[in-house]
């Protein structure tokens, strides 16, 4: 139901586009955090932004939903520059999931999931039905979980609720900032697999930030590697490891090491 794709607009294939985007902290004389990035993010794809800490991947994500604005260049979302969007409207059409989920501790699970539909003034019954649908979608029994508070959930359950909340208003775009980063390895693997299935089913355009190469290769339809605010590699996962770039090799070497130890 939620996988119905909107008709192709004149804006074309790309739901999100970066055109020569640079970003530096307000008036900061230091080097740009994002340095002249141009990217195309086609509809329905899962793009993984891979990079070390401080490579600018989270900043790139926040440039999409107007938490930051480009210092130079333009970010185009659904055919319009983010600067021309009303920030509130732009953000309500984009799901957002972060590490530790950022759930409201004073809201129940149902209230958390129903938040954006509520902001959008959906009728009460429609919100209730949607909340149930979303909880089932992420593998949580609505009867059992609707009334709970976030502190009564495990880390994995909180992250599931975070995904349900992000999807509730059926946004075409989903931004995820290391959503599984704080989970134990077993739960993480579980959620990664389920999320991959879910993503394929929903057909959303997903931008996913991680520093974990394994996770990137598993989930991505395209991996974009960032280094010091620049895109240094962009490839399909099956080609990514063959890319000739020192930073790609650095990530691969770290993966090999991890494999040997395991």
């Amino acid at each position: 139901m939620s996988s119905v794709k909107p008709p192709m607009s004149t804006a074309g294939q790309n739901l999100i586009e970066f055109r020569g985007v640079s970003w530096r902290a307000n008036g900061s004389p230091e080097a740009a955090i994002i340095d002249d990035v141009s990217l195309e993010m086609p509809r329905g794809e899962t793009l993984v932004l891979l990079g070390r800490s401080g490579s600018g991947k989270t900043t790139l994500l926040k440039l999409i939903n107007g938490l930051y604005w480009p210092s130079k260049g333009e970010v185009i979302v659904e055919g319009r520059a983010t600067r021309e969007w009303d920030a509130i409207r732009l953000r309500r059409g984009i799901g957002y999931v972060i590490q530790e989920a950022g759930l409201f501790p004073h809201f129940t699970v149902a209230e958390n999931v129903g938040l954006v539909p509520g902001l959008e003034n959906w009728p009460r019954e429609k919100i209730a039905a949607r909340v149930k649908e979303m909880l089932r979608l992420v593998g949580l029994d609505p009867e059992e979980f609707s009334g709970r508070r976030p502190r009564e959930l495990s880390g994995g359950q909180r992250q599931r609720v975070g995904v349900a909340r992000a999807l509730a208003a059926d946004p075409p775009i989903l931004l995820m900032d290391e959503p599984f980063g704080a989970l134990d390895p077993v739960t993480r693997a579980e959620l990664q697999r389920e999320f991959k299935t879910l993503a394929a089913r929903l057909g959303k355009t997903i931008v996913f930030v991680t520093h974990d190469l394994r996770e990137a290769l598993l989930l991505a339809s395209r991996v974009i590697l960032l280094q010091k605010g620049r895109v240094v590699a962009s490839a399909r996962p099956e080609e990514f490891l063959r890319v000739q770039h020192p930073e790609v090799q650095a990530f691969t070497a770290a993966l090999d090491l991890g494999g040997d130890c395991a």
Partner: protein, 211 residues
Amino acid sequence: MTGLWSFLVEHQAEIMSATLEHMELVLIAMAAAILIGVPLGMLVVRRAKLRAMALGIAGIFQTIPSLALFGFLIPIPFIGGIGKRTAIVALTLYALLPILRNTYVGLAEIDPAVLESAEAMGMTQGQILFRVRFPLGLAVLLAGVRTATIITIGVATIAAAIGAGGLGTFIFRGVALVNDSLLLAGAIPAALLAILADFLLGRLERRLRVT
């Protein structure tokens, strides 16, 4: 000791009316301080310069010794003079800092992940203030109200010195006449009021705390 007890029983009507007068001073001053301090605290959450100024000014009032603050206000037209009104103004100014500071701290010190997701989901700053910051900061805000109430109950005893009435009347008279029973007839109810306020507001605060 039996002397004190019979004194308290004999004068219970006067003690009761002084206690009520004392509570009246405290309640009016606290209501005014909350009505000024809480909205001001909300206003300065995202405005650093205004915040420094408001906290600075409220801090000055807190620093002035209470009896001196009463003294400063007496010569001021309209709000000054001898009596309740001056006392209430002084008590309000005194209670302002803990309320303002705790309102600000409660609203400001919210888990950054919660604020980030609130903003990212398209909540307006007003919605974030009233639906996220306020409910999550309420316990800290209330801790400020509790501190301010206890301070105000104490400082209000000094208000008797400028003719505002209340339990301080017994204390000052008791000191002047070297009469312990008279002194304690003011001191004991004042202490009990403070302990009771602390207990009740403390319970409310714990109930409102969100973990």
